[in-house]
Structures are given as C-alpha cells and as structure tokens.
Amino acid sequence: MLHLILFSVFGLICAAAAVNLLVQSHPINSALSLVVVMGSLAVEYLLLGAEFVAAVQVIVYAGAIMVLFVFVIMLLNAGKDERTKGSRVSLFIGIPGVTIGSVLMAWVLITHSGTRSVEAGALPGDPRQIAQLLFHQFLLPFEVTSILVLIAIMGAVVLAARPEALQPTEEKN
C-alpha cells in the first residue's frame, strides 16, 4: 500500500514536471522542471530497489548534466522562447491523435503486457553486485564508454574554445 502511495505521489510529480517542461517558455524553468523529473525518477528507482542507480541518477544527471545545462543557459543569457505559430492541423488532428494514442498504449500496457506486480525494493541493486557485473561481464563496454567520454571531453574543448585560443602561441608567460 505504502509502495503504491509513494509510487503515485512521485509519479505524479514526475509527470507534472515533464508537462511543465513543455509548457514553460523560459529555458531555465524547463531545465529546473527536468531536474525535478530526475529527482522523482531517482525515488522511483529506489522503490524498485535500484539504490545504486538512484544515487548515480542524482549525481550524474541532476548534479552534473543539468548543472551544465543551467550553466550554458546562464552563459548565453538565453531569453524567452519565440513561439512559432502552431498550425491548424496540429491543433485538430495532432492533439486528439496523441491523446488517443497514449490512452491506447496505457490500456494495452496495463491489461495485456503480461507483467507482474513488484514489491518495494524488488531487486536490490547492491553496489557490490553491480560492480561485479560491470567489471567482469560488461568490462569491454565499460572500457569503450570510457574512451567515448574521453573523446567527448576533447571534442567539447575543441568545439567550445574560441578559434584563436587553439592556435599555438609564440610566447607563453
């Protein structure tokens, strides 16, 4: 029962924040609602027992990636969105279509997906077991992603630096 209550509360917060991301016109409000989405998702992970994933979600997503977003919004001083005029087709066909589609999908998932019910903390994702998997079974993907991150860092530096900053300078003090 407690599980269902917690799931619904944080699920509702999550969904509301996701909708808020769409509705807000200023990017910083969208960014903050995305942080709320990520925080409540971390709670959902905890409910499923994935404690390590929940902690990493907060550290990496909410604490690093979104800070980067907020930082760039501040740096570029991004203003309000200019709204382009919505087309009439999207108003009369798109919105009902999306509503019908999502209701259908939810109905199929709830009645016909053949999934079980899970208890709170169904699969404890203990850091030790995750590490076992990560450094034995998934060692190659792990190393590949680390190279990917390295390339990404260098790419980001090259892209974001001013062109003149990358030229080798004659004198360096």
């Binding site: 910083i28 902690a55 604490g63 690093a64 800070v67 907020v70 930082f71 501040m74 850091p127």
Partner: protein, 346 residues
C-alpha cells in the same frame, strides 16, 4: 522495533541532529570571527555576553528583523527559491552521517545516525552536487552583473572540484570495500605497530588523497583561498549581492553547514570517525566516541578558519588550472596506486 517506535526514534534523532547542526553553524560563525580577529590582532566580538558568546543570537535577531528587500529587476520565483535550495541541500546531507557507535536507551538499540544506508557516501556526494543550484540560480535570477559573474564562477568551480573530491574518496572506498559510512569507520578500527591507529590516512597511505580532499573541499564550499564566487574586492559579494535579511542569512547558514558536513566527511573517511581511546564507566563509554568525533570536526573547522586568516585569494585561471591540471591527475595517480596495492595484497 515496531514501525511506531522506529518513526518516533527517527524523529527524535532528526530533531536532535538539526538542533546540534544549527547551533554548530551559529557558533562556527562566532569562532570564525573570534579566531580571525585574534589572527589580525583584534578582539573579535566581545560586547554581547561573555567573550561575545551571545553574538550569534544577536545576529539571528538582527537578520530576522531587518527589512527583506526584493530588488525590482529580479526574476522573483527563482530569486526566492534559490536560498531555500541552498540551505535545504546543505542541511539534508547530515542525514547519513554517523556521529558515533550504537547506543542503548532502555530497550531501544539504535545507531547514532539518522539513516544507516549502504550507499551513504554516494548520497552525500549527490546532495552536495545539488547544492550548486542554489548558488547558480541566485546568481542568474538576481539579474545583476556581479551576481551573474559570481554564479557562473561558482557553478564552474564546484563542478570542476567535485571530480577531484570524488576521486580522492575512491581510494578509501577501495580500501574498505564499502560505500556505507559506518562500515568505512569500522574498517579503521585497531592499531598497527602497537600505537599508530589504523586510520586511512596512516594505514591506507591515503595521505595524498587527504590533502586533495581538503583542498577540493575548500573550493567546494567556496572558502578562502578559493572564494572566487563571492570575492568581495571584485564582485561586491558575488552571487548573494542582491540578497538581504533572512535570505542572505540562509546562504550564510548553507555555507557553514556545508563546511561542517565536509569536516564530518573528512573525519569519517580519513581519520577514523569516532574511534579513540574509550575508558571509564558505561555512560562515559557511550559519550566518549561522540566527543572524539566532534573534536575532529572542530579541528577541521579551526583549520578552515586558520587558512582563511592566512592565505590570499587565487586568481580565477589559477584556480581552474590548479583543479584540472594538478589536483585531478594527482587524485587519479593516487587511485591507481591504491588499487594496485590492494590488488597485489589480495
């Protein structure tokens, strides 16, 4: 333990921890003014109470009754939310910090810790990384150039030094094989060579990591010599330039609460937590570990203040170069060597 007693015990612990933390915050401010005063050949606060001991209360009353100004050009929702975000995340991280051993009160046997979780270290890192939002948003929403510069600097600095901070702690995690703060302390029990305690800083050879942690922690809490986000001489007051009264006090509280958290974490990770000589009657045996823990925290806070009274401020490019080109490679080297030693020993 039934659910009812569990909730009751947890509530009592939360209230107690919050009360102690907030009092500690107030008196750290007093200590700072006093110590920096003596370093600079002044007296510090002397008028309110003996040795100025009631000064924090006078300050609190002043903050409460000052006019709460909101400049007209700010972005109100975030301007109001920012200090709250800062103070909430600063106070939350106390939840997983263990202050001492298990104690028995009547029939209730409970750890001196609000929540004993097996990913305690990750939770602390996560919560402190969320604290950046308070600073960044206050800088942005104030809509003034000094605040914006302070906020930008703070977010860049905190994100950069978080990496060195985290990496310096990984060595300890490898040594104790756990992310639970209680188990990390338990792994540091005992002595070697007869008298040297088994702390990670000695036994584990985490000496370098300890200093990396210390410096990264200074940057993380925006303290001198890394207090660029609020550099008074160039940015007025940095990210909290536009704040007054209670909202300003919240930033102040957040900064000092963060200092205390960082000091607690340092003593847990490197200095054996509450380990220390325990003797005497039973009641003393219960109290002494807490005393040893608080003593370590006090020493850290004192060093914080001492450094503030001694060192000048870095330049911003020096700060970034120091973090990325010096601390980070050192932390990685320390991590690799620790891992090698542990692997060879096993």
């Amino acid at each position: 333990m039934t659910l009812g007693t569990f909730i009751l015990v947890s509530l009592v612990k939360i209230l107690l921890a919050l009360f102690v933390l907030l009092t500690a915050v107030a008196y750290t401010v007093w200590l700072e003014r006093k110590v920096v005063g003596h370093i600079q050949n002044r007296w510090g606060p002397t008028r309110v109470g003996p040795f100025g001991l009631l000064q924090p209360m006078a300050d609190g009353v002043k903050f409460l009754f000052k006019e709460d100004l909101t400049p007209p050009h700010v972005y109100r929702p975030l301007y109001i939310a920012a200090p709250m975000i800062a103070v909430v995340f600063a106070l939350t991280s106390i939840a997983v910090i263990p202050f001492g051993n298990w104690i028995a009160i009547g029939s209730i046997y409970t750890p001196l810790q609000i929540a004993d979780v097996n990913i305690g270290l990750l939770i602390i890192l996560g919560i402190t990384s969320l604290g950046v939002y308070g600073v960044a948003l206050s800088g942005w929403s104030s809509n003034s150039k000094y605040s914006l510069l302070g906020g930008l600097r703070a977010s860049a600095q905190m994100v950069s030094y978080e990496i060195a901070l985290g990496l310096s702690l990984v060595g300890v995690v490898i040594l104790s094989g756990s992310l639970s703060l209680r188990e990390i302390v338990d792994a540091q029990a005992g002595h070697f060579w007869g008298f040297i305690p088994n702390w990670n800083i000695f036994r584990g050879g985490q000496f370098v990591a300890f200093f990396i942690y210390l410096m990264a922690a200074y940057a993380e809490t925006n303290r001198i010599p890394f207090d660029l986000p609020e550099a008074e001489t160039e940015l007025v007051a940095g990210y909290h330039t536009e704040y007054s009264a209670m909202k300003f006090a919240m930033f102040f509280m957040a900064e000092y609460a963060n200092m205390i958290t960082v000091a607690c974490l340092a003593s847990i990770m490197f200095l054996g937590g509450w380990r220390g000589p325990v003797f005497g009657p039973e009641i003393l045996q219960d109290v002494l570990p807490i005393f040893w823990f608080l003593l370590r925290v006090f020493v850290f806070l004192f060093v914080y203040i001492w450094v503030r009274g001694t060192l000048p401020r870095f330049r911003y490019d020096q700060l970034m170069a120091f973090g990325w080109k010096c601390l980070l490679p050192l932390a990685i080297a320390n991590l690799v060597i620790t891992a090698l030693v542990v692997a060879l020993r096993a």
